[in-house]
Symmetry: C2
Subunit: 202 residues, 2 copies
DNA sequence: CGACTACTAGAATAATTATTCTAGAGATCT
DNA sequence: AGATCTCTAGAATAATTATTCTAGTAGTCG
């Protein structure tokens, strides 16, 4: 066995750094190997293709992120799930840029590699399940309307407030959490008053 | 003068359609001319480069979008400015995808063309001015904290709620406006109560 | 030691795109 | 009609990338 100079994590680390700096499009086999001063042969010895490296990187990152949300829901605390986004981003600035500034499909150039399809599908499903669970925790019911509101509170708003700061490569300031809290409480209160006065909410 | 078969708007229209369907990356000189069945010579007769076509397309689209926001602020109605996003998107689904699903820099491949730099800078400035104006209208004051909240209400939240629907190529349903309204009222009320109880706001 | 394995090394190849270039065609003007 | 100007046409060129291929090298196992 020849001396291993570059392992999988080296390549992934370089890819993450480049993606965080210049976007996923700038992550080319050339830019990775240049940064590492590794030959392209070593790259292809580890990964069957560029798309597989980037697909795995995205998938691992999103799963790490989602874990925190899931944990908060397991603890029955949906507000904590909403606040998890800024908290996680503060710990993982590069990963935050990767995940929240770009689209899933910005990472692979063609179709998603067959080898990753199932894992991506599982991730999507887990996410959908999380929203339903959150809807039940927050509103006591998981109809389409409640799920839509849960998506708003747990995903759309937190990502939206955090984005501007990620673009500037700065950790999200406290006002971000405050805005998430205000919005959370407002949507919950609104739902309660509305279901109390006029019949159902769908 | 030879018969004009393809004018600027033909090329821009094709570019818009392709960008809305498959993203700005799929807008290549080849995909445009193929769609139009035009020769590449005609393309380069109209536009100095691919980046200039796409830069102009983005710029024209964002200015059209911003006009509605500005009009609402001129009318002294910041809530209408917040609701302008879903309203405009319903009228311009393709343009909405172009503008709200991608980044400004996804459109040009290298640096922004020199010829467009000034117009982009003016656009950015206009946008910043709009937020300051909105902050004054909503909160009566335009300090950093008030401006941040105005950005949240006028830009971040509306874009965030609308995005999911744009991804599915469907017009944003009424719940979107409702969520924007709820959030708007909540942030305004919060600011009022807070500045009434403990001193200033930041 | 000698075969084998797991890599390093990087040149060669292929595919995709932007851009340039050379020709030719139809209007318009005189 | 003939000159000229604006375009159409599309082939040729250049640059960028992903991927493949051929060699060589350093450990490990027998």
């Amino acid at each position: 066995m020849a001396r291993t100079k570059f392992d999988e994590t080296d390549f992934k680390g370089a890819a993450l750094a480049i993606a965080a700096e210049r976007g996923p499009l700038a992550v080319t086999v050339g830019s990775i190997t240049e940064r590492l001063k590794a030959p392209t042969g070593s790259f292809y010895h580890r990964f069957a293709s560029r798309d597989i490296l980037l697909g795995e990187l995205w998938l691992e990152t999103v799963l790490d992120f989602q874990q925190g949300t899931t944990a908060a829901l397991d603890a029955g605390d949906p507000l904590a799930a909403a606040l998890h986004t800024p908290a996680w981003v503060r710990k993982h600035l590069d990963e935050g840029r990767l995940l929240l500034l770009y689209h899933r499909d910005d990472f692979v150039q063609r179709e998603w590699p067959q080898t990753l399809r199932d894992r991506v599908a599982a991730q999507t499903e887990q996410m959908a399940g999380g929203f339903a669970r959150a809807a039940r925790l927050i509103f006591g019911h998981a109809g389409p309307d409640e799920i839509r509101r849960a998506q708003f509170l747990l995903a759309e708003v937190p990502v939206a407030v955090v984005r501007r700061h990620l673009e500037r490569r700065e950790p999200p300031p406290p006002i971000v959490d405050e805005l998430i809290r205000i919005t959370y409480r407002a949507v919950v209160d609104d739902y309660r008053t509305r279901t109390r006065s006029d019949g159902a909410g769908g």
